[in-house]
Amino acid sequence: MESVPLIEFRNVSKQFNDKIVLNKVNARIYENQITTIIGKSGTGKSVFLKHIIGLLKADEGDILFHGKSVNKMDKAERRAYMSDISYLFQNNALLDSMTVFDNVAFPLRQTTNLNKKEIEKRVLQRIEDLELTEAIKKYPSELSGGMQKRVALARALVTDPKIVLFDEPTTGQDPIRKNMILSMITHYRKKFGFTAIMISHDIPDVFFISDRIIILWEGAVGFEGTYEEAVKLKLPIIGEFLRSLEGFQDELTGLLSREAFRMHYAGMLGGAATTTSVSAALFSVRMNLLDDVLGPQTALETLKLLGKFTNRQFNSVGGFSARHSRDQILTIFPHTTPDEARELVAGFALKLQQGALAGIESIAGRKTGKVVCFDIYIHAGITGIFPADEIEEIIAKAEAKQEIIATYRCDSGGSK
């Protein structure tokens, strides 16, 4: 049985002049989850978020918070509801006459009775978390778009809200920063236990961190559920829409996008009903451990490097790869038996250990400015593929066979 949604839209409609932006929208958002809203431009994604925070009022319908209508709340209840929510605006909406420090401190100064010292402590912590220390005395106009976004994020998180609304938090960021922000959202969500509602087009990365997705389609909800459910439904409208957003290449790693990978896989198996000459390898690196030791940026650089290395090594033998979770890469070898694939992966592991992994040390040193000690373990699982296998089944089979294939150990001064 499904639990009571944290926020529920019931037949919510909104119209601006003659344009109907939301048309009897029904949607549910659950507590402690990341819910991502995707949709084409002008489908009412920002309007959807602004209804939650009360910046806009629905023409029709109702918004429920813990089952209670927001419209029927008394003043105290409404104040409590609002105090639980933070909003990260699409264009950041930083107060441009204030420095970065003052912007982040602003909600604490205005809405709490904390003393100056406590406010300073909290603000400095958030500024440090978001790597903004060098910009602390600068004004928003002196910062790059990416830095402004991080300042807005710091301001949204400084009050430790229970619900955070992110209106395109990664717009204007490079692939590494995009993933960093998404990682950060996941990290903070786990750390502080807030519910995240996000508008984003960063596919596939946004799917790796989202518990549920809501697809807005011409003013109404086209789909609501997990990404896996969306894919299983195989609705042409959803597939086409996701492909249009995702493109053919994963921006971070240079590998195929998930949709492009599915199309390749379907095309490959379409006519060739061979059972022995197709195999797959699932590579993974423990990103959470790397995040903790090297910081999110270096961890993402590591993943980027792994993606590029995988592409280079296996493209020549006809292999194609894509990320299937934040830290898993699946490679399909179309004309290779599992034994041959094992040999290929062994060669790949050797080169990876001798070349690429050692290179990560220099990336880490460059980013942190000091000698960093860390361990990296690359796992791989190899399996044969049968024509009827779905990608999820292949991943499950390969995951069960995973073992360490390459290691970088700090205590042995590099590769072992």
Partner: protein, 272 residues
């Protein structure tokens, strides 16, 4: 139920009436909205955490405008000294120069010209600043942070205007009287003692109080109009974005100046 539409014959008369009616309704609506806006801003002045914001606005509206207000006051007084000297000479009553200059300044020119100068300098700035905050969603950001934008942005400006206008008016009056002294006494040779005696003897507390009442009324009018225009610039139908801010600033200055002169007449008729 189906809407019944009566045929409308568009001629010059119906166009004039419809335009007048539309504009009148808009004006009444705007006036009502402005009164509510001012009431909200006024009552929020007495909330917590307002003191620092009010001081900042007093600095912006009052302190930084003082130089320009005094400069205008000086030259206004000097021109009056010149004009009134040559006029009074014709009637053989040059001794009344001090009275004429000081009464004109304290009763009329001081409050009006100070208000117009502050409108041009600080009022336009208020509208532009608030307007830019509106179009860049900074005001929405305040609401999303549970900060009442009227309390944070408007109330301190209204309070600072109410404090600054009478103070700047008094500076204007003082410097204006000195300006009259420069031309009337130092340049044209009127007796200094007579000038200051006439200033002292002709200005009563009623005149000073009248001037201050006017400056308080102007403070409310200017701050309310300028903040209102900036705050609702996104609802303008004649322009969007930066253009809306520009148009709002023009409207703020024009409406404020006209309203200052209208209010001046109304207040004068009441206090005379």
């Amino acid at each position: 139920m189906a809407e019944i539409r009566l045929p409308v014959h568009k001629n010059i008369l119906t166009l004039v009436f419809s335009y007048t009616g539309r504009e009148a309704l808009r004006l009444v609506g705007d006036l009502g909205a402005m009164v509510i806006f001012f009431a909200l801003a006024f009552f929020n002045i007495f909330r917590k955490k307002q003191f620092i914001e009010i001081v900042k606005q007093i600095y912006y509206i009052g302190a930084t405008s003082s130089l320009i207000v005094m400069l205008v006051g000086l030259f206004t007084g000097m021109v009056m000294g010149l004009q009134l000297f040559y006029t009074l000479v014709k009637f053989g009553s040059v001794g009344a120069l001090g009275s004429a200059v000081s009464l004109s300044l304290v009763r009329e020119l001081g409050p009006v010209l100070t208000a117009i100068m502050i409108t041009a300098r600080a009022g336009s700035g208020m509208t532009a600043e608030i307007g830019i905050m509106r179009i860049s969603e900074q005001i929405d950001a305040l609401s999303s942070m549970r900060i009442d934008p009227v309390r944070y942005l408007i109330s301190p400006r209204v309070a600072a205007s109410i404090i600054s206008f009478p103070l700047l008016t008094s500076f204007f009056d003082l410097v204006g009287i000195l300006g009259g002294y420069f031309t009337g006494v130092l340049l044209l040779g009127t007796n200094a003692g007579t000038y200051f005696y006439r200033v002292q003897s002709s200005i009563n507390m009623v005149d000073v109080r009248g001037g201050f009442i006017k400056s308080l009324v102007f403070a409310v009018i200017v701050s309310c109009i300028c903040c209102f225009q900036g705050y609702f610039c996104h609802m303008r139908t004649d322009g969007y974005g930066a253009k809306a801010v520009g148009l709002a600033t023009i409207s703020a200055v024009v409406i404020s100046c006209v309203m200052i002169l209208i209010a001046d007449y109304v207040v004068t008729s009441f206090i005379m």
